[in-house]
C-alpha cells in the first residue's frame, strides 16, 4: 500500500503544509500587530514603564525581527508567552484547548457523518417520496438555521422548560470522560455543531447513492437474487461513500468554523473561545498561535482525507 510514489506524495504534501504554515502565520502576524491598542496599555503603565514592558516582551523590535524570533522558537515547539496573563507559556495552553476542541469537534464529526449518511441513503432509496422530501428539507434547514438559534432553542428546552429532566443544567453521569467533560455534557453543543454540517453529507450521499444505484452492477446484483439490504449496503453504499470522503476535508473546516461560535455560546474553553478572547484582548501571540494551529489541523485533515481515498478506492494512486 505504501509504495514509493505514495511516500513521495506524502513528503510533498508535508512540505506544502510547512510552507502554508509559514505563509499564513506571517500574514496573520503582520496583520494582528497592526491592530490598534495593546495588551499592555493601561492607566498604570505608560511612558517609560510601558517602554520597559514592551522591551521585556521584545515588542520594541522591528516587526520582521519579531516574526523571525517567533518562527525560530515555534519550530522548537515554543509558541511564545501570553500578554494577557503575563508570561504564561502558550504551547501548553493551546495544547489543552486543542484537546477540548478536538473532543467537541470529533464528537460533532461522528454525529454529522452518522446523520448525514443515514439520511442520504434513506432519501436515495425512496427517491421523490415524502421521505426523500422530508429528509432533504431537513438537510437544507440544517445549514440554514444559524447554530446560535439552535443553541438558544436547546438551552430553552433543556434548561428552562424541562428543568426536571435535566436538573436545570445538562449533566448526567459520565459515559466517557474526556479532557473537557463527559460525552453527555457535550451532547447538546456537539449535536448542534454536527447537525449544521450534516446537511452537506446528506446531499452528497443522496446524489452519490442515486448515481450508483443506476449502475449495471447493481442491476446484476439484484438479478442474482441478492437481498435488497445486501445490495444497498455492500454494493451501493460502499461506492457511494467515496464522494462523501471527498467532502470530509471541507467538513472539518465547517466544523472548525462552527466550533468558534459554539464554544463562545456554551463557554467551552477550546481554541475558538481563546481565539476571540485573544483578539479582543490584543494578545497577539495567542491569536497567531491559535490561527497557526488551526491551519496545521486543516492541512493534516486534508492530507489524511486524500490518503483515505487510496484506501477506499484502490483505483486512485498517487
Amino acid at each position: 500500500m505504501l509504495t514509493r510514489g505514495t511516500l513521495i506524495y506524502i513528503a510533498q504534501r508535508l512540505a506544502l503544509i510547512v510552507f502554508t504554515l509559514i505563509a499564513v502565520s506571517f500574514l496573520v502576524f503582520i496583520t494582528v500587530h497592526s491592530l490598534p491598542g495593546s495588551a499592555f496599555e493601561s492607566e498604570r503603565v505608560h511612558g517609560k514603564a510601558l517602554q520597559l514592558v514592551l522591551h521585556q516582551y521584545g515588542l520594541d523590535r522591528p516587526i520582521l525581527v519579531q516574526y523571525w524570533s517567533f518562527l525560530t522558537s515555534a519550530i522548537h515547539g515554543n509558541l511564545g508567552v501570553s500578554f494577557q496573563i503575563r508570561g504564561l507559556p502558550i504551547t501548553p495552553l493551546v495544547m489543552r484547548e486543542l484537546s477540548v476542541s478536538a473532543e467537541l469537534g470529533g464528537t460533532a464529526l461522528l454525529i454529522t457523518i452518522g446523520i448525514g449518511t443515514t439520511f442520504g441513503v434513506l432519501a436515495a432509496m425512496r427517491q421523490n417520496s415524502w421521505v426523500d422530501y422530508t429528509l432533504t428539507s431537513i438537510a437544507v434547514v440544517g445549514y440554514s438555521v444559524p447554530s446560535f438559534v439552535l443553541a438558544g432553542l436547546g438551552v430553552l428546552i433543556f434548561s428552562y422548560w424541562l428543568p426536571n429532566v435535566t436538573n436545570g443544567v445538562i449533566s448526567y453521569p459520565a459515559i466517557w470522560t474526556g479532557t473537557y467533560g463527559t460525552l453527555v455534557e457535550l451532547s447538546l453543543p456537539a449535536v448542534i455543531l454536527g447537525f449544521y454540517t450534516s446537511g452537506q453529507v446528506t446531499r452528497i450521499t443522496r446524489a452519490a447513492m442515486l448515481e450508483v444505484l443506476q449502475q449495471d452492477y447493481i442491476r446484476t446484483a439484484r438479478a442474482k437474487g441478492l437481498k435488497s439490504r445486501v445490495v444497498t449496503v455492500r454494493h451501493a453504499l460502499r461506492n457511494a461513500l467515496i464522494p462523501v470522503i471527498s467532502i470530509l476535508g471541507p467538513l472539518v473546516i465547517s466544523i472548525i468554523t462552527g466550533s468558534v461560535i459554539i464554544e463562545n455560546i456554551f463557554g467551552i474553553p477550546g481554541l475558538g473561545k481563546e481565539f476571540v478572547e485573544s483578539i479582543l484582548g490584543a494578545d497577539y501571540n495567542v491569536t497567531v498561535a491559535v490561527f497557526t494551529v488551526y491551519a496545521l489541523l486543516i492541512g493534516i485533515a486534508n492530507l489524511v482525507v486524500d490518503l483515505l481515498y487510496t484506501v477506499v478506492d484502490p483505483r486512485i494512486r498517487y
Binding site: 496583520t31 438558544g152 481565539f275 486543516i298
Partner: protein, 300 residues
C-alpha cells in the same frame, strides 16, 4: 423540488425547429417551475421592500430608548414585536436588521463577484506566472476558515458596514476566482474563441465578450450562495459582539441580547431567530433553484 418537464410543449404548436432561447429566458422559465425557489423569491421580495421602507420610516427610532416604556414587553398594539432589554421597539430594530443583513449579503456578493470574476478570468485566460501567483495565494488560504480571517481583518480595518463586507469578502472571493478560472481554462480552448482570436479580437473582448457570458450560469449560482454565507457571518460576528457597532441593530446582536434574556423573555430571541432562519433558507432555496435552472450539469 425541481421537476422540469421535457421541452415537448414547445413543439405542440407544430413548429419543428426549436426557437432560440437566451440564457436568461431559458433559466427563468425553468426557475418558474420550481415552487420552492418561487416561494423564496416572494419572501425575499417582501424582505427587500421592508428593508427599503426601513430606510425612510420605522415605527419608532430603532436606536431610541423610548420614554415611559417598559423593557421586555410582549407583543402589543403599540409594539407589535415587543420591546428589548433597554425598552427599544423591537419591530423597528428588526426592520433595521433586515436592512443591514441584506446590505451585507448583497454587498459582499457584489465585491466577491467583481474581484473573483476579474482575478479568475485573468488567471485562467493568461495562465503562466500570473496564474501561478494567484493559484499559490489561493491554495495557501484554501481551507482557512473564512470567519477567522474576517474577525481579524474586521478589527484591523475598524468597525463599520463597509469594512464588514470587505472582511467577509477577503476569503470568499477565492472560491469565485477558482470557479471562474476553471471555466476560463476550458472555454479558452473552444473553437469559437480561436475564431474570435483569428478575426482579430483583443484579449479584453474575448474575456468579457465570449468567456464571461459563456460561464455566467455557474457564476450566478455561486454569487447567490455567497449571500447567505455573508449574512450568516455578519450575524455570527454581531452575535459575538464583534459586528456592526451599536446602537445599529443587527439580527445577530438582537439574538445575542435575546439569548442573555432567554429565561425572562423568549420573544427577543425568537424574532431574529425566525427572520435569520427564513432568510437564509430562502437564499439557499433560491440558489438551489438557480443552480437547477442555469447550471443543470451540476445538479445535486
Amino acid at each position: 423540488m425541481a421537476i422540469s418537464t421535457p421541452v415537448l410543449e414547445e413543439y405542440a404548436g407544430g413548429t419543428v425547429a426549436r426557437e432560440q432561447v437566451g440564457l436568461w429566458r431559458d433559466g427563468f422559465r425553468r426557475l418558474r417551475r420550481n415552487r420552492l425557489a418561487l416561494a423564496a423569491l416572494v419572501y425575499l421580495t417582501i424582505l427587500f421592500v421592508v428593508a427599503i421602507v426601513a430606510l425612510f420610516w420605522t415605527p419608532y427610532n430603532p436606536a431610541a430608548i423610548l420614554p415611559n416604556t417598559l423593557t421586555f414587553l410582549g407583543p402589543s398594539a403599540a409594539h407589535p414585536l415587543g420591546t428589548d432589554d433597554l425598552g427599544r421597539d423591537l419591530l423597528s430594530r428588526m426592520m433595521q436588521g433586515a436592512q443591514i443583513s441584506l446590505i451585507v449579503g448583497v454587498g459582499t456578493s457584489a465585491i466577491v463577484l467583481t474581484v473573483g470574476v476579474v482575478v479568475g478570468l485573468i488567471a485562467g485566460y493568461f495562465r503562466g506566472w500570473i496564474d501561478n501567483v494567484i493559484s499559490v495565494f489561493i491554495n495557501i488560504f484554501y481551507g482557512i476558515p473564512g470567519i477567522l480571517v474576517a474577525i481579524i481583518l474586521y478589527l484591523v480595518l475598524g468597525r463599520g458596514l463597509g469594512n464588514i463586507m470587505i472582511a467577509i469578502s477577503a476569503t470568499a472571493w477565492m472560491d469565485m476566482a477558482r470557479l471562474v478560472r476553471g471555466q476560463a481554462f476550458s472555454i479558452r480552448e473552444r473553437e469559437y474563441i480561436e475564431a474570435a482570436r483569428a478575426s482579430g479580437a483583443r484579449s479584453g473582448k474575448i474575456l468579457f465578450g465570449h468567456i464571461l457570458p459563456n460561464s455566467l450560469g455557474p457564476i450566478i449560482v455561486q454569487a447567490t450562495f455567497v449571500i447567505p454565507i455573508a449574512i450568516l457571518t455578519e450575524a455570527f460576528l454581531s452575535y459575538l459582539g464583534l459586528g456592526i457597532p451599536s446602537p445599529l441593530a443587527s439580527w445577530g446582536s438582537i439574538a445575542s441580547e435575546g439569548y442573555a434574556a432567554l429565561p425572562l423573555e423568549p420573544y427577543m430571541m425568537l424574532w431574529p431567530a425566525v427572520a435569520l432562519s427564513l432568510t437564509l433558507l430562502a437564499f439557499n432555496f433560491l440558489g438551489d433553484g438557480l443552480r437547477d435552472a442555469f447550471d443543470p450539469r451540476q445538479r445535486l
